[in-house]
Amino acid sequence: MSAAAEIVFEHVTKRYAGRDAAAVDDLSFEIPAGTFCVLVGPSGGGKTTALKMVNRLVPFDSGEIRIDGRSVRDIPVVELRRGIGYVIQQVGLFPHMTVGDNIGTVPRLLGWSKARIRDRIAELLELVGLEAADAKRYPAQLSGGQRQRVGLARALAADPPLLLMDEPFGALDPITRFRLQTELRRLHHEVGKTVIFVTHDVDEAIQMGDRIAILREGGVLAQYDTPDAILAHPADDFVARFVGEDRALRRLALRTLADAPLEPCTDSSRAPRAPQTTTLRNAVSLMVESGADRVVVVGPDGGESGMLRLQKIEDLL
């Protein structure tokens, strides 16, 4: 199995029986291999429908979805699904199986040896930040965050080149959610799979996505681009409203002082100091708060590595 798969939607349309409006309307876009792609939009935008068409939990009426060039309709459905990791909001762990047996589900279906499955379970528990002893516990004994970690481990078990995630963190408290978001980004960096991630939360989309597909009511693709490009150049009023009036600040939140053009420090005695890992958004906040027009950047060694003026930040936008 390859490390990551390229996914292509070609004019995909889906109408549910008894409804006039399409759930997904002539959807076309390409997700390069290894990309973390977020589908975002208001409810009724067809994002979950679009996701479930990839593993054929929802059949589509016309068009084509290709994984590495192969139509999903040409792959036997059981084989297709065993090759795609699937994570849902309610997790759906098997209550009667231990954590270890839950994680080992797809490898067992694929006929891996017992020893190989055992090793893989241990490896995955560590990858998602659980204890080796957790393998023997039952889902009812876990917290919501731990359950979703198991859900993620289970989806990754057979090393699929594609991961489908349907609002995986939607039911978690904000702290657990933020921690899992951060870890999923790190994990994506490590395992390098293609991810399609559905959310209705635009903040989550901007934080997580390499690319964002914004779907509007009726399942129409409003814009598909990088978070920075969408914030800088919303395709229309709908996208502009959807990403928010504060899109300039959201763009600044995507970058840190380490990425900014620094100047040698001058006239900086009253300026606030900030480590170079600070986002540009927080740097602006510091300047507004202290009434200064510049911020002194402190490097990892604790020394001043330069300063950034407010004027320069405006030029970046």
Partner: protein
Amino acid sequence: MTHLAAGPVIIPNYGQGSSCVTGNHTFCWGWVHDHWGDTLQPALVQHIVLTVIAVGIGFALAFALALLAHRLRRVEHPIGIAAALLYTMPSLALFQVLVPFTGLTRTTVEIPLVAYTLVILFPNIVAGLRSAPDEVLEAARGMGLTRRQLLWRVELPLAVPAIVGGLRIAVVSTIAIATIASFVIEQGLGYPIFYAVKLPTPFKTEIYSAGILAIALALASDALLVGLRRLLVPWARKGLA
């Protein structure tokens, strides 16, 4: 009848013809001791056999019908109604209908007993198979389980608590109902009761001892099934811990 003078005499070993027995006192241990081997123990074993056959065949039938109803929803209702209709039939009347065909045999007794277990077991098994949460089924399908794997690896294990619950009711009620077998055959714990009742003076000790054995058998079987549930469903038990 039970005056103080009888006290010291109600001791085993006096056996048949003791004043307790001849006086038909409330309960004579001596009689129980003397007739355990020739009356009570065989009746108990026959009763267990009657129950095991009824629940065994009833469970196999109910399970097959439940699998069918789980696959084809539209047959669930007709099967449920048919089982309920069988349940309304008085067993003595049913015996009258069956005897010309199946004679005075165990088969005649087992047919109504099996029918009665169906009305308990069928809906319990169907409800159990449906008890798997939607998100669990969606995750299972999304991971590429076939329909058969979904049934045997997910739906059926999750149905075990409901199935064992149904078995407990079926076993306990069958043990009680199986005493009527004595109307047809000289078997089961109903037979000593039937026999003692028909005597010119109903013999109390025989009636009580057989009745108590039936109750004890029901309680013991129920305890056994509770133990079975604990063994088969470790996930629910540990979840509460």
